[in-house]
């Protein structure tokens, strides 16, 4: 469980995170979504006590991170920037982390096997590929069997097999009852793994909803109709609330009504329908729409500087 209340971080004049309040619950994967530079990494660093909030606070499992007796047992973290000394082997890095909590070498070997790094565990981390580095980061996060996982862009740099592995791992960890908080700038990635979403833009909370709600709330809902009598159907449908677009001969896109109404109307007038499909806005489109303002602000800022 992660609870942020009025979390704010300023670096000089620049506000990276502004009055952010949200709760991340156990048992599901929660996606932390926002365009690049939205303040995701800053928020995650504040959760771990690496950056101090300017205002507000954030607790993990009821307490500030630094107030836990065994912090690694509360939160396992994978931070975006590599947090490993490149001159040390993966094994010794994990062992050094383990020692702080009195965790044994046996557990270090367990997590090395869990992430599949056994063969390279004694090699210098500096020689690791991006994917191997991410696996080491995951091993480090899982080391103390944490109740909460904070993962910053975990699929970055992974090959398709690695991405699949991370997705299954996150779902598995959530199914075990853990809190899983994972950031991404890719909506499509979150659509596949997350059940709940915390969306931010320019450091502000935009949405704190389930993935289903998020998709439903997308304003654009349209129905695709394919019929040989497109012109007739179109004239019947068009009204004050309903708009119809000709996509190509015999294909219409209708907004403002639903499939039931269109189907009934077509039946009454004996218009044959070849296709009648409700098209939901994709998660990506919903995301773009929601964060549009945040992105537009950026563009305006840039213009302001130029002029």
């Amino acid at each position: 469980m992660i609870e942020a209340r009025g979390l704010t971080k300023r670096y000089g004049e620049k506000t990276a995170v502004a009055a952010l309040s949200f709760t991340v619950r156990p048992g599901v994967v929660t996606g932390f979504l926002g365009p690049n530079g939205a303040g995701k990494s800053t928020t995650m660093r504040m959760i771990l006590g690496l950056d101090a909030p300017t205002h507000g606070d954030v607790t993990v499992n009821g307490r500030r991170y630094a107030d836990h007796a065994a912090p690694l047992h509360e939160v396992g973290a994978l931070l975006e920037a590599k947090a490993v000394h490149t001159g040390r082997s993966a094994y010794h890095h994990l062992l050094a982390m383990a020692c702080t909590h009195g965790i044994s070498r046996t557990r270090v070997d367990e997590v090395i096997d869990l992430v599949g790094l056994r063969e390279v565990a004694r090699r210098r981390v500096g020689s690791f590929s991006l994917g191997m580095g991410q696996r080491l980061g995951v091993a480090c996060a899982l080391l103390a069997d944490p109740a909460t996982l904070v993962l910053d862009e975990p699929v970055n740099g992974l090959d398709p097999e690695g991405i699949l592995w991370i997705r299954n791992l996150m779902r598995g960890l959530a199914a075990e009852g853990r809190t899983v908080f994972v950031s991404s700038h890719l909506m499509s990635e979150m659509a596949l793994t997350a059940e709940h979403l915390v969306v931010i833009g320019r450091g502000r909370l935009i949405a704190d909803v389930s993935v289903a709600e998020f998709t439903n709330s997308a304003s654009r809902k349209l129905v695709r109709v394919r019929t040989p009598m497109a012109t007739q159907l179109r004239d019947l449908l068009v009204g004050p609330d309903v708009s119809v677009t000709d996509v190509e001969p015999g294909l219409l896109e209708v907004t403002g009504t639903d499939t039931t109404a269109i189907g009934r109307l077509a039946c009454q007038r004996a218009i044959p329908l070849i296709e009648l499909t409700p098209v939901q806005a994709s998660l990506e489109e919903a995301f773009m729409e929601l964060t549009q303002d945040a992105v537009e602000y950026h563009a305006q800022d840039a213009e302001g500087i130029a002029s």
Binding site: R45, A70, V75, A83, V84, A96, R107
Partner: protein, 275 residues
């Protein structure tokens, strides 16, 4: 939501019953960190070899040219300091190593992992200090003793040597280990403040090599008043049989005072700044 509802499973994780951070465990972690870097082993080995090797070289040269030494110079010659002359190189190596054990973490981002494991932060400062000072003191004191005994054996040939039992000699030889450890700890403390390797090493070299030169260039009355209180000049008194300016332990006390201030400042900044 109750714990039962959350229903965490441990997927067979082998974990201790008393899993928590303790000062002893942080020291153990720092011990693992220290010895798992090639650079630590190379540097500590180089400091040892520099101390012993240069001592042998210098005393051997002295012994070879002893016939040309006048009786007056024989009296003035300090055989202990001759055998410990490797300290000038050893202090730089130890100081840079001290800086690196901190700045290496900032340079690579490791510090974020260290501080997420020990979010109270200060135990990391004390843990690093304990491991570094412990290892450095043992190694440099051993090197100092070995350099002394080999050096005196060489100087005994032409009858120039001294013994460990002579007044002030044991204190100076062990004091050399203390002095070198002090310079290393200065590097550690500066590392916490400056955080980047180049800046820390430059500052350390400035303090130990450049500053004494500048002070010497000052008008004599000024220089004489300031020089005894420079960290390395004061600290080195304890490593000399015949201290030049301050009493041996008073001089070392001055160095320790600098270390307390620098380390305290580093600890304060670590606690206050974002990692």
């Amino acid at each position: 939501m109750t714990t039962a509802q959350i229903g965490r499973r441990r997927q067979g994780a082998t974990l201790p019953a008393d899993m928590k951070v303790t000062p002893t465990r942080v020291i153990r972690s720092e011990w693992v960190k220290f010895w798992s870097l090639e650079s630590s082993k190379v540097a500590i080995g180089a400091a040892f070899l520099g101390m012993v090797g240069i001592g042998i070289l210098y005393t051997a040269l002295l012994a070879a040219h002893s016939s040309g030494v006048s009786p007056a110079d024989r009296v003035r010659l300090d055989p202990t300091s001759a055998s410990l002359s490797g300290y000038s190189i050893a202090q730089l190596i130890v100081g840079v190593l001290g800086a690196l054990i901190v700045t290496g973490e900032y340079g690579t981002g490791m510090v974020r992992a260290s501080l997420s494991a020990v979010p109270k932060r200060l135990p990391v400062v004390w843990g690093k200090l304990a491991v570094f000072a412990g290892v450095t003191f043992v190694v440099t004191t051993a090197a100092s003793l070995i350099a002394f005994f080999i050096g005196q054996a060489i100087l005994d040939g032409p009858g120039l040597g001294t013994t460990i039992g002579a007044p002030g000699v044991l204190r100076a030889v062990v004091g050399m280990g203390l002095y070198l450890t002090g310079i290393g700890v200065l590097g550690v403390g500066l590392g916490w403040i400056i955080r980047n390797t180049a800046g820390t090493v430059a500052t350390l070299i400035g303090l130990v090599l450049v500053l004494p030169g500048i002070v010497q260039a000052l008008p004599a009355s000024w220089g004489e008043r300031i020089a005894p209180y420079l960290p390395n000049i004061a600290g080195h008194e304890v490593a000399m049989v015949h201290p030049a300016m301050l009493a041996p332990w008073a001089g070392f006390g001055v160095l320790v005072a600098y270390l307390v201030v620098v380390t305290g400042m580093g600890a304060y900044l670590l606690k206050r700044r974002d990692a």
